[in-house]
């Protein structure tokens, strides 16, 4: 049998490959595969995660001491930088007039303009931040959560310029010295990356609701699947009038406010 030059090269390549298999990347692929077959377990899954904030309940709970903000920032090691310029925030309280320009009536609803209500990343269905990110560090998951991959963030801050809601913060300094206490279950961030609310994707994976939702003493925040007709959020949105921040931009926020 005559072996052509082409066949000989192919055979030698295959031989070499099979010899190096033990430590090759292919071995890792093979060893990692069973995790795909693992049952999903306790993790919470959804077609589209949304949050519904009942502003009547929220505003009425005057003595909550911003429980949602503290719960989130303690859980995710968000530092208190002590000044507005360096501020890092995932969820914060803001006056209604700033959150809903052009949406509050002159008479009815006018009182909301001066009341502070929670604001966070809207996890838009059509997020401008992910479109401008040059490295793919921020992207939208299948369930609608817009997540940050700080490993790939190069700190260009295009996403901050693109976000119409001011939901993103930049780490101008190493945040660790500014943490009052550390949650060992969650990493901190480093100087030079952008961060924001992730709808607690790490808690959802453990079967827990977001930290702010569980912390709210007035139970003003509901979290659930918009694609599930029987979910609480769909019920709330069907039965109540809701607004979203800056709907005219077409970003389709996933955070609804009941007014």
């Amino acid at each position: 049998m005559k072996i052509s030059r082409r066949t000989a090269l192919k055979l030698s390549l295959l031989t070499g490959f099979s010899l190096t298999r033990k430590h090759s990347l292919f071995a890792i692929v093979a060893s990692a595969r069973p995790s795909d077959l693992l049952p999903p377990g306790a993790a919470l899954k959804a077609g589209r995660w949304v949050m519904v904030i009942d502003l009547k309940k929220c505003v009425a709970a005057k003595d909550c001491h911003d429980a949602c903000v503290h719960a989130c920032h303690d859980t995710h090691n968000v530092p208190d930088m002590g000044n507005k310029k360096d501020e890092v925030k995932w969820i914060w309280r803001e006056e209604g007039a700033h959150l809903f320009p052009d949406q509050l009536g002159e008479y009815r609803g006018a009182e909301l303009a001066h009341q502070t209500v929670p604001a966070l990343c809207n996890h838009c269905a059509n997020p401008p931040c992910t479109r401008v990110c040059p490295t793919g560090a921020t992207f939208k998951r299948g369930d609608g959560i817009v997540v940050m991959d700080p490993h790939r963030c190069i700190g260009c801050r295009f996403c901050m310029a693109a976000c119409p809601y001011g939901s993103r913060s930049f780490n101008w300094k190493d945040p660790r010295p500014y943490l009052k206490k550390i949650n060992p279950d969650y990493p901190t961030r480093t100087k030079g990356v952008v961060e924001k609310c992730t709808f607690c994707d790490e808690r959802l994976a453990q079967g827990k609701l977001p930290a702010c939702v569980t912390a709210c003493p007035a139970e003003a925040m509901a979290f659930g699947d918009l694609k599930d007709e029987k979910s609480l959020v769909v019920k709330l949105l069907r039965e109540n009038f809701s607004i979203r921040r800056k709907p005219e931009l077409g970003t389709e926020p996933a955070v609804y406010y009941l007014v």
Partner: protein
């Protein structure tokens, strides 16, 4: 041929040779010290065989990172069937408190035993915690941050 001033020249030549070849000797001496296995004080096998971890741990961790952050797949089944959380916490649980001699250490210190030798710069520990939860300490300079904020009650 006569070598004048040999008693000065020959020792000086010796000193010169030792000085010039010093980097080579230092490298030979450091070779043994450089590649110690990271301490595994729990006496447990690492998630995969030692030879695999030694050669591929960086790619394994890179895959874990992408699978967890970008694909939400968080459980790793090793070749021997044991399941592990894809997290540096899994590494730190063994490598993050005491070394083989029972001395207190951090994962950052354990990793740097090899990485400083091969001049590999890690930035994992800029964000991730390098000690087991009980041993995590706040970064230096936090004392002042604590004092200024001691008046308000964090929830």
């Amino acid at each position: 041929m006569k070598l004048y001033n040999a008693r000065y020249i020959l020792p000086a030549l010796g000193v010169f040779l030792v000085a010039v070849t010093f980097p080579v000797w230092r490298g030979v001496a450091a070779r043994d010290a450089g590649f110690k296995s990271p301490p595994n004080p729990n006496g447990e096998r690492c998630i995969e065989p030692k030879s695999f971890m030694r050669a591929q741990h960086m790619r394994l961790l890179g895959r874990w990172r992408d699978e967890v952050v970008r694909e939400d797949r968080r459980v790793y089944i090793a070749k021997d069937g044991r399941a592990w959380e894809k997290s540096l916490k899994t590494c730190v649980a063994c490598h993050g408190h005491t070394d083989a001699l029972g001395k207190s250490t951090t994962a950052a210190a354990a990793c740097s035993e090899c990485h400083s030798y091969v001049n590999a710069k890690l930035d994992c520990w800029n964000c991730h915690h390098d000690s087991a939860p009980a041993d995590i300490k706040l970064a230096a300079g936090n004392a002042t941050a604590n004092q200024t904020a001691s008046g308000e009650e964090p929830r």
